[in-house]
């Protein structure tokens, strides 16, 4: 018996995400972005969200002021105009992290770790707010896990055990985010008949709570 529950619509799959939730959101730009789950959140006009993702292109959520905080590595570019507007109005805040630090902070939360040490950012303003520690004569920054309540993930194929395969470079942040929040919600392009070949599974269904098939 799988823990994964299959939902009929994206709206059903995100129906209990409350105002003020912290959500991990997969994708790198548009590749692997769980647009149907985000659209369903926007439809419900959930507010006060903290959204953790590589980019800040959550236009559907910005349109009605749903986001309180964005945690990302790259908040600029053509898809982030809506964010810059809310940021400039003072309606949302930004926490910027180097991409590798961001993804590792997400991983440690899911892996039951208290954080990790890195040299990335030392001696620059990217280290602001982080403590230094010396290990074996070398200095590192202490990085804390990013604890989120939900992960919104886009995969390509899934089976009814919740096993997932991502498509091409759409794997990116999705694979780690699927493991990093207490509730992992996944939109897939296809829920296959039968089961995926165990050797080909990218993320085990053991991590996946909710699965919904979407058209795009």
């Amino acid at each position: 018996m799988s823990r994964t529950e299959i939902f009929a619509t994206a709206a059903d799959a995100v129906a209990d995400i409350p105002n003020g939730a912290t959500i991990l959101c997969g994708g790198f730009g548009g590749a692997g972005y769980p647009r149907n789950l985000i659209a369903a959140l926007a439809e419900r006009k959930v507010t006060g969200l903290t959204v953790v993702a590589n980019n800040a292109g959550h236009e559907a959520l910005f349109e009605y002021g749903g986001v309180r905080k964005v945690v990302c590595s790259y908040p600029v570019g053509p898809t982030s105009r809506g964010f810059l507007e809310v940021l400039n109005r003072g309606d949302a805040e930004l926490e910027l992290e180097p991409q590798g630090t961001l993804v590792e902070r997400i991983r440690t939360a899911g892996a039951g770790l208290g954080g990790f040490l890195t040299k990335v950012g030392i001696g620059t303003e990217l280290a602001d707010g982080k403590e230094l520690i010396e290990v074996d004569g070398e200095e590192y920054l202490i990085c804390q896990p990013i604890k989120a309540e939900y992960a919104l993930v886009k995969a390509w194929k899934g089976d009814r055990s919740g096993n997932l395969i991502y498509r091409h470079a759409a794997r990116n942040f999705n694979a780690v985010m699927a493991t990093a929040a207490p509730v992992a919600i996944v939109e897939v392009s296809e829920i296959i008949e039968g089961y995926l070949d165990p050797d080909s599974v990218h993320t085990s269904g053991a991590f996946i709570d909710r699965l919904v098939m979407v058209n795009t």
Binding site: V76, Q99, V103, T118, V120, E125
Partner: protein, 213 residues
């Protein structure tokens, strides 16, 4: 401008070719967004394996019109391809590779590089918001950081090679070499060492224009 043509400054394409000639055949190379892109074609023509931090090893050239796939993009979010023998990886694996010292070379653009190899390439002085992306991880993790840039900033007069960076730092003491239209330079602690100059370029003239040589 005519004087510069007479000087025989290298074109961006020539810079890309020179960089590619200096790369060993078995290196794994990350090519950054912006000016470094001029090296992609000469590198792939030599069969050098390219890494894209969003999760591609074996990045190929841009696809032909009609062959674009929204799930195959590079770190600049432009459509890309994968060469035979390539692979897709997730972001954790990609940054394990970067920080773990498995990249032989990161080619990056720059706003400024200082004499001791400090790199500023993510946020201009006075600007509030910019993206860091994977630049700091790459600058720290790659075994070598080479820069491809114009020698002077957009104002045409400010040298991007400086004593001390004035823009936000990406990483300290990481840059090993800088390729420009005027020549190739290396940070040597208190100045830049000239590795090679384009025809007709004179180091004394560059020093007069504020390049710390």
């Amino acid at each position: 401008m005519n004087a510069e043509i007479e000087m025989g400054l290298w074109s961006m394409q020539e810079i890309g070719t020179r960089v590619a000639q200096d790369v060993e055949p078995n290196w794994l190379v990350n090519v950054g967004i912006g000016m470094p892109q001029v090296a992609i074609e000469p590198l792939t023509e030599r069969g050098i394996t390219l890494h894209s931090e969003n999760g591609i090893i074996g990045l190929g050239p841009s696809p032909s019109p009609g062959d674009e796939d929204p799930d195959v993009i590079d770190a600049g979010k432009g459509f890309a391809t994968v060469v035979p023998g390539g692979s897709f990886i997730d972001s954790i694996t990609s940054f394990t590779l970067i920080r773990g010292g498995r990249l032989d070379l990161a080619l990056m653009g720059a706003y400024e590089v200082s004499v001791n190899g400090d790199l500023a390439n993510w946020r201009l002085r006075g600007k509030k918001i910019a993206g860091i992306g994977g630049a700091a991880d790459l600058a720290h993790g790659a075994r070598r950081v080479w820069i491809i840039t114009t020698l002077f900033a957009n104002d045409g007069t400010s040298s991007k090679l400086v004593k001390e960076c004035s823009h936000a730092l990406t990483a300290r003491g990481v840059v090993k070499r800088i390729y420009t239209e005027y020549g190739v330079f290396e940070p040597s602690g208190d100045a830049f060492r000239v590795i090679g100059l384009a025809d007709g370029v004179n180091a004394t003239d560059l020093a007069d224009r504020g390049v710390p040589l």
